[in-house]
Amino acid sequence: MSDTTTILHDTANRLFADTVSASELARAAEGAWLPAQWQQLEELGLTTALVPEDAGGAGLEPADALGLVRLAGYHGLPLPLAETLLAGWLLAHAGLPVLEGPLTIAPARTDNELRLERTGNGWRLRGELDRVPWARHAAAIAALADHDGQPLVCLLTPDGYTLDQAVNLAGEPRDTVQVNCALQNAHVAPAPEGFGPQQLQAAGAALRALAMAGAIDRVLTMSVNYANERKQFGRPIGKFQAVQQNLAVLASQAAAAGAASDIAAEAFGAAPDLLAIAVAKVRTGEAAGSAAGIAHQVHGAIGFTEEHSLHFFTKRLWSWRDEFGREAEWNRLVGQQAADAGADGLWPLIASV
């Protein structure tokens, strides 16, 4: 990581810490949009970190830019930074305009099918997109649509769709988008070579892996601090071996998630390493469930209240592990690759990541 990146990460970390308070998290969970906070992200250049410099972005290396997503996860940043990074990256790499403002992408779920047809001087796009993150606040959605077996990137603006609002456990928007619109030629372009729905799903999975690693770091920090403060039987509960052993497991899961998210960040790109990202998503997803469970156990009843901040992070963990492919789906990819490798090829496969 270069010095510039370190400075950017430090700056972002301070910004997130200063602007994401418990009251902001609560407001966002109720559906509020935080315009001032979003503007600060834009002013720092964080939202275009993955857009190449010649397309007007900061042009960071993916592994460095994605470090921002882990930090955002640590703070529970209730804004579509990850989605904007990915949409901007995809649009720029397809040569499409990267619009200003929050952006998002349509997850390439099997039930999200878009029909793209040629019309006289452009295109028509129809279909339904389920669980689109932050769609209601987005200036544009980047989506993949198939045309004659070739994946095309489409830039959709709000005048081209209607939406039904829905949320995830943490209250983050996950809207259903009904698309029926004409698209000008300038808003449709071939996806980067080899980049199809599975690659888009993997890119989203990589972002969620990073966000989960950040949120797991957070629930570990909250849990250890709480165990040091909360006294029962005349001493901090963190002095009891039973609690220490649970927190040690939580720390181990956090370390595994951190390593897995590093794998995801390194594998991100126009030709993403699907195996590496699958590994990262399933391992962070498993760690997320374990970490959230232990964090709540350590916090006791107070952590179960709406007033306490723990749930902002545990609800995100429970949601993010299922977004862009839950463990079962990505495990099948890893398992089939292991099977393809055979008994003697299994180790070389593991050592290749």
């Binding site: 640590y74 770091d217 570990l220 920090t221 250890v224 601090n225 165990a227 040091n228 963190g238 002095k239 071996q241 609690v243 220490q244 052993q245 927190l247 040690a248 497991v249 720390a251 181990s252 956090a254 370390a255 595994a256 951190g258 390593a259 897995a260 590093d262 794998i263 590496a276 699958a278 590994v279 990262a280 399933v282 391992r283 498993e286 463990e327 079962a328 990505w330 495990n331 099948r332 990819l333 890893v334 398992g335 089939q336 690759q337 292991a338 099977a339 393809d340 490798a341 055979g342 008994a343 003697d344 299994l346 180790w347 070389p348 496969l349 593991i350 050592a351 990541v353």
Partner: protein
């Protein structure tokens, strides 16, 4: 942020080139080794293999030229270790000497000890056992009672060491014992001695483990004379030294690859078109191993830079042994076979061995509870 840092593992072209060389050597050398023997993992004992490995320069790899003649990087050593383990190579004879006894001597030993011992370890001819646990002192190492009493020219040692892997076929033990003080002051007054196991007064009794192997031993010291020149490091500093030795012991891929032969056999059995359920369970364990390997390589990087990875090593060992113990359970969920020791069916035989040996994974080298205590200390909880 309180998470325990695992720096990005360094990459090394030299190490990757070496990997291919090691694989080719193992393919040829172990061609006839059946899965049931590979399943012994690093408890598989074959002195001929250790000597062959030494001829390749793959023991004592990182030691200075004057003692081992290799001076390879910690990363190159790491690659050799993981390839050996993944292939189920019989590395037990030299394993402890290479992993911890040699490095301990390099760090604390006298020049005479180093010149006498290290080149023989590097040649794959001199084997070590660990002298830590005792009948009344397992996890509570500081409670060790074996005592070395000063006499003319050295010490007279009395006491008993237990669970001493390879004690019956090793040449030396690094003995952790009391040389002063008493058991009340715990860490003080302890020292490490380099003990020649052929010394008069030493009785070695192999103990059969529940899997049927005779790897570990009870070693009784009755008025054993050990010369003054056998003191390793500083008299009375045994506790700090033995903690360093344990960090070597816990830091490697031997803490997450012990069941790998079983996973490979499962993969063979499932074939190229496993069910969705099999894909999911196999995929999950594979993902765990990939991530463990990343963590383990990070520890290797810390060793390479001369940092102390004791905390990180404890964490990897705790995570790793958990996965090692899960693998037989996954096999049971996917395959309708019964574990049968000595069966001609390799999966059945490997499953039998791994199931019976698995309890040891989270006991040897520090129990799960001890490791989690170390992690809790790293979190500032104790």
């Amino acid at each position: 942020m309180l998470s325990i840092p695992f720096p990005k593992p360094p990459t090394s072209d030299a190490a990757e080139a070496l990997r291919h060389e090691v694989r080719a050597f193992l393919r040829e050398t172990l061609a006839d080794r059946p899965p049931a023997e590979r399943a012994l993992s690093w408890t598989g004992y074959d002195a001929d293999f250790s000597r062959a490995l030494a001829r390749k320069g793959w023991i004592a790899m990182t030691w200075p030229k004057e003692y081992g003649e290799h001076e390879r990087s910690a990363l190159e050593r790491y690659v050799v270790l993981e390839e050996l383990l993944a292939a189920g190579a019989p590395v037990s004879a030299h394993w402890i000497a290479d992993r911890q006894s040699g490095p301990l001597l390099l760090r604390y030993g006298t020049e005479e000890q180093r010149r006498e011992i290290l080149p023989r370890i590097a040649a794959g001819e001199c084997y070590f056992c660990i002298g830590m646990s005792e009948p009344d002192s397992g996890s509570d190492l500081a409670g060790a009672r074996t005592r070395a009493t000063p006499v003319e020219g050295g010490f007279r040692v009395n006491g008993t060491k237990l669970w001493t892997t390879n004690g019956h076929r090793a040449h030396y033990m690094i003995l952790f014992c009391r040389t002063g003080g008493n058991t009340e002051d715990r860490h003080g007054g302890t020292s490490q001695l380099l003990v020649d196991l052929s010394s008069p007064g030493i009785t070695i009794r192999p103990i059969r483990d529940m899997s049927g192997l005779e790897d570990f031993n009870e070693i009784v010291f009755q008025d054993v004379f050990v010369p003054e020149s056998a003191v390793i490091g500083e008299l009375g500093k045994g506790w700090d030294q033995v903690m360093g030795e344990l960090a070597y012991e816990r830091s490697g891929p031997d803490r997450w690859l012990s069941s790998f032969a079983l996973l490979a056999e499962l993969n063979r059995h499932l074939g190229s078109r496993p069910s969705e359920r099999a894909q999911e369970l196999l995929g999950r364990i594979t993902a765990h191993l990939v991530v463990l390997r990343r963590l383990s390589r990070s520890v290797a990087g810390m060793l390479e830079r001369g940092e102390n990875p004791a905390l990180q090593a404890s964490l990897v060992k705790d995570l790793g042994t958990g996965v090692e113990q899960e693998i037989p359970e996954i096999v049971r969920q996917l395959v309708d076979i019964e574990a049968a020791p000595g069966s001609g069916d390799q999966l059945s035989a490997v499953l039998a061995h791994t199931l019976m040996y698995a309890p040891a994974f989270s006991l040897r080298g520090g129990t799960r509870e001890i490791l989690r205590g170390i992690i809790a200390r790293g979190l500032g909880l104790r």
